[in-house]
Symmetry: C2
Subunit: 272 residues, 2 copies
C-alpha cells in the first residue's frame, strides 16, 4: 500500500526517509496537454528500480497515480508542455538506517511548468570538476542521492548549458541532468548502462530508435578524444524533458552540429 | 539566515532540497540530561562540512539552535540519555539540481530516545555485500546521501549488530553506522579520513584520547587479514551515541575482547 501525497495540498510526511537518507527515487515526466509519449518507459524504470531498492510498488499503482495527476493538473497547462514529478520513498521511520519490516512507501506528486526550449542550433558544454562515483549495485537508478549532480550543477555559469562528468577511470559518463551520445565515424556511441549514475528514459528511447533505423550503435566507455577528436561527428545530450540537444561547443572546442539524431529519433512527432 | 523548523510543530518545508536530492547533511547528538560532551566536535563537523558543500551557516548559529533545543526538550528525558537530530539542507527550490543563488538553508530539529545500551561483552559483526563508494570530494561528510548505508542496514539479521563495508580496493572501511578501530600488535589502526563515507565525531574523540595517552596510532587502510589475522588483538566500533563497542565475533571468527579502548577513551566519565 502506497501513501499518496499531493504537494499542492500536503507537505512531505513526517519522518520520511527520502529526506533523512535520500532513501527513494524519482521521475520527472514530460507531459504535453494530457499526453506523455515516454510514460511507459518512466513507469518501467520507476517500478523496476524501486524493486532494485526493495521498495515494494506495482507498476499499475504508479500508472493509476499518473492518471489521477493528469486529471488533476492537465487543465492548468492547456495544450502546453509541463512536468509531473513523482518522488517515491521507502516510507517513514525505522531504526536509523534500518527500515522497519512492514514499512509502506510514500509517493509524493508535484507539477511545474516546462523549462524554456533549447536552441536547436546547439548548446555550449564544459567539463565538471566533480568526479562521478557510481555504486555498481545502484547504477542507473534515479535515486534521491544526487549530491554529486547538485555540486556539479552549482558550477554552471554564463552560457554553459551543461557540464559533463567523468568517473575515476577517466571516462566521460554523462551530464548533470543528461545522457550523452557521440557520433564516432559511422557509429553512435553512448556510455554503458552499468557505468551510469542515471540511465535516462530518453536514452532508452534514442537507443530504440537508432536500432530500429538500422544504425550502428555501441554502448562503450567514452574517452575525451572520442568527444573532441577528428573522428567525432557530433555530440548530443538527451533528457526526457529537453529531448535531443546537439552540442555546438565543448570546453572551447567547436563541434559539428546537425539535426541527424533529432530526425532519426523523431522527437517533434513524439514530444510535440 | 537559517530557516528553523522544529519537527514536533512543523513538517519539512515544501520543495526542500534535502528530500529532492539529499542536498544536505545531519548530526545525531547524544545528550545526557542537558549535557553533551562531544557537542563541540558535532558543531565543528556540521559547520565545516556545510562549508565543503557551500551551504552557508555559522557555527555560532548552530550552537544557538542546539541550546534552544536543550531548553525545549531536556526536561522530557530527565537525567537519561536522549538523541538530538539536526538536519541541515541547502534550502528550498532551484532549477532542478541547480540551486538558486540566494537560497537560504533549512535546519530541521527533532529528538528521540536513546537506543538500548550495548552489551559490554561485545557484539557480533559480519561483512556487508553492499560495496562502499566514496566520492573523494565528499569523504567523511555525514550527508543525506545514505542509500548505501540503508541498503546495507537492511541486511542486518538476528544477533548481527553491525555490518562492515568495503570499498572497491577491498579495504574494510567502516560499519553502516560506526567507524572502526583495530588493535594490531602494539598499534591502534583506523582507516584514513580520506576513504571514509562518514568521519564520526567519536572517531575523532578516540583518536585524540589515544594520542594523549601516548598510544601508537596509525590511520591506514585495513585489509581483511588485519581484522581476523593472528596479529589482531581486538576490533572496536565507535559511534557518538553508542560509544566504543568491542567486537567479539566477526563473520564467525572469535576475536579477543577487552575494555582497553573504553578505558583509554574514558567513555563512562565522559558520556555518563
Amino acid at each position: 500500500m502506497l501513501h499518496l501525497y499531493w504537494a499542492d495540498e500536503s507537505s512531505a510526511p513526517p519522518g520520511d526517509r527520502g529526506l533523512a537518507y535520500g532513501d527513494g527515487l524519482f521521475e520527472t515526466v514530460s507531459v504535453t496537454g494530457d499526453r506523455s509519449p515516454l510514460l511507459g518507459y518512466h513507469l518501467d524504470r520507476l517500478s523496476r528500480d524501486a524493486g532494485r531498492l526493495a521498495i515494494p510498488v506495482a507498476r499499475s499503482e504508479l500508472e493509476k497515480v499518473f492518471n489521477q495527476a493528469l486529471l488533476r493538473y492537465s487543465d492548468l497547462y492547456g495544450t502546453g508542455q509541463w512536468i509531473l514529478k513523482l518522488t517515491l520513498t521507502r516510507g517513514s521511520g525505522g531504526r536509523g538506517y534500518r527500515p522497519d519490516p512492514g514499512i509502506q512507501p510514500n509517493l509524493m506528486v508535484s507539477h511545474s511548468a516546462a523549462p524554456a526550449p533549447v536552441d536547436p542550433g546547439g548548446v555550449v558544454v564544459d567539463f565538471s570538476r566533480i568526479p562521478l562515483t557510481v555504486n555498481p549495485l545502484f547504477a542507473g537508478i534515479k535515486s534521491l542521492n544526487r549530491l554529486e549532480q547538485v555540486m556539479a550543477a552549482r558550477e554552471l555559469r554564463g552560457d554553459i548549458y551543461e557540464l559533463l562528468m567523468s568517473n575515476r577511470e577517466g571516462h566521460v559518463v554523462e551530464g548533470t541532468r543528461t545522457n550523452l551520445f557521440v557520433c564516432s565515424g559511422q557509429t553512435w556511441v553512448t556510455p554503458p548502462a552499468s557505468t551510469l549514475a542515471v540511465a535516462g528514459v530518453m536514452r532508452r528511447h534514442v537507443l530504440a530508435r537508432l536500432h530500429s533505423a538500422g544504425q550502428e550503435v555501441r554502448e562503450a566507455p567514452l574517452q575525451l578524444e572520442d568527444l573532441v577528436g577528428d573522428n567525432c561527428h557530433g555530440v548530443w545530450l538527451t533528457n526526457s524533458v529537453l529531448g535531443v540537444v546537439p552540442v555546438r561547443n565543448l570546453a572551447g572546442h567547436d563541434l559539428p552540429v546537425d539535426q541527424r539524431l533529432a530526425t532519426i529519433v523523431g522527437l517533434p512527432a513524439i514530444l510535440g
